[in-house]
């Protein structure tokens, strides 16, 4: 297994947010984490990369227990994180944004160079010296993914990549994610848009009120409209 999460519990202050979350991601898999807003998708990701101070449980990444490590060490192991809201450094140029994400080459993960990323996201190549703050939402979403790929991760957590993007840009995002998969990156993507998730994912988990309440292939999910409708409330 690429990533195994067991009994993950998280708190914000007095509020208990995640309850015994557990899921797995296989080598080269794209797994969707589905659920409504506030269900705990982002908190799950933030907990995995150590951005939530109060968490317990076991997080195994490539066979190593990373649950007690600080954020930057987890990321340096090759576990990339793309946050929601993109969080581009708006004062820095595209090149400088990528520089912040740069990490050394890793033996078991695809190596990304600026040139390769500009091929994946041609728009970025045309605006290397533009400050992040003067880019459109779609361009920023591409930059935030490219920035994380500069760290040569073997697995990427993608938090709501389609949020706030026009349908056309979302379709480009589908292509980019499938290309990443082809290159050998494992991906966990959190989503509310089931159409989008279906186009990219091998398997899906549903999270509801901080608990995992379904796990299976996309076909299995489609054969269980009761679960889908109860928790995704389509």
């Amino acid at each position: 297994m690429k990533l195994t999460v067991q009994d993950l519990n998280s708190h914000y202050g007095p509020a208990h947010i995640l309850f015994d979350i557990g899921f797995e991601v296989g080598e080269g898999e794209v797994v969707a984490l589905l659920g409504r807003n506030g269900a705990g998708k982002s908190t799950t990701f933030r907990s995995i990369v150590g951005l939530v101070a109060q968490r317990s449980g076991r997080i195994m990444f490539e066979g190593k227990d990373v649950s007690a490590k600080p954020t930057h060490e987890i990321v340096r192991e090759g576990l990339g994180y793309v946050p929601e809201e993109r969080r581009i450094f708006t004062d820095l140029t595209v090149e400088e944004n990528l520089e912040v994400g740069r990490q050394p080459k890793r033996p078991n993960a695809p190596h990304w160079t600026r040139e390769k990323l500009f091929a994946l996201f041609p728009n970025l190549g045309e605006m290397k010296n533009r400050p992040g703050g003067r880019m459109s939402g779609g361009e920023q979403q591409m930059l935030t993914i490219a920035r994380t790929l500069m760290g040569n991760p073997s697995l990427v957590l993608l938090d709501e990549p389609s949020e706030g993007l026009s349908p056309k840009i979302v379709e480009q995002m589908v292509d980019a994610i499938l290309t990443m998969k082809k290159e050998g990156v494992s991906i966990v993507v959190s989503e509310q848009n089931l159409h989008f998730a279906r186009l990219i994912s091998d398997r899906a988990y549903i999270i509801e009120r901080g608990r995992i309440c379904f796990g299976g292939t996309m076909a299995e999910l489609d054969s269980r409209p009761d679960i889908r409708d109860a928790h995704l409330s389509l």
Binding site: G38, A39, S166, P167, V174, L194, H195
Partner: protein, 263 residues
């Protein structure tokens, strides 16, 4: 077509930043009780346009009129006093106050009691606050701290706050962003129902085409600062230019309609 005078009339709205036109010559109108969607690619000028309507931003030229009265260049709080309520893309509420108190602040402002230093605010228009909360289905949450609410509930609270001054027009910036599909449908149905009952005009921006096609009476499409299309959902959907710049191949929104699982 319509004999009723326009509730909102926008004429030749233009704004540029550093020589680049963000919005150029945008004109449209909105009738009372009508639900109008403003869509377009990221960076097309939707937010700029929206901010010029609510007073957050001043146009370089052009006019915005509410029932014939000029609102161009007025401050947000002045536009609110003219009867324009709004909700934000990222909810803006008073996080340390309870749900009821959030509504009461709006009522206090509406009743021009802002500088009353000795009255009892907890008892201020309590019934009216309760009624507004019931209207949006938040009656049971009145005493909850606003900071504890789920996102969908915050959006409903914003709607209740926006209704506190009996508005004629509602401006909603991506009202369903960040919500689950069922919540989106619920919120927009509720909005539509209230708008029809009270004859309130609604203008909203949105990226979820399922929401737009289902709830908008009319759609206007913005691209690179200019309006490129206007019409009914069916018309806009079939417009090749809109498909080219915005809708794409319809993979990421249309499936639900095709499968017939639409709510």
């Amino acid at each position: 077509m319509s004999v009723a005078p326009p509730l909102l009339a926008v004429e030749g709205l233009t704004k540029s930043y550093g020589g680049i036109h963000a919005v150029r010559g945008v004109s449209f109108s909105l009738r009372a009780g009508e639900i109008l969607a403003l869509i377009g690619p990221n960076g097309a000028g939707k937010s700029t346009c929206f901010d010029m309507l609510n007073g957050q931003n001043k146009p370089d030229s052009g006019h915005v009129r509410l029932l014939g009265e000029e609102t161009t260049g007025k401050k947000p709080r002045e536009i609110w006093r003219m009867g324009v309520g709004r909700t934000f893309q990222i909810t803006a509420t008073f996080a340390t106050m309870t749900v009821r108190e959030n509504v009461q602040v709006a009522l206090i402002s509406h009743g021009k009691q802002l500088y009353n230093l000795f009255g009892s605010a907890p008892n201020f228009d309590r019934n009216e606050a309760g009624r507004l909360l019931e209207l949006v289905g938040m009656g049971g949450y009145a005493d909850r701290p606003c900071g504890e609410l789920a996102y969908g509930d915050l959006k409903r609270l914003e709607l209740a706050v926006a209704l506190a001054n009996e508005p004629k027009l509602l401006l909603m910036d991506e009202p369903t962003a960040g919500m689950a599909p069922r919540e989106r449908v619920d919120l927009m149905r509720l909005t539509a129902q209230i708008a029809r009952e009270k004859s309130i005009g609604v203008l909203f921006t949105e990226h979820d085409m399922d929401v737009v096609f289902e709830h908008a009476d009319r759609i206007i499409v913005l691209n690179r600062g200019t309006l490129i299309a206007e019409g009914s959902p069916a018309e806009v959907r079939g417009n090749p230019q809109v498909q080219a710049v915005y809708l794409g191949e319809g993979l990421v929104y249309d499936a639900r309609h095709r499968e017939g699982t639409s709510a």
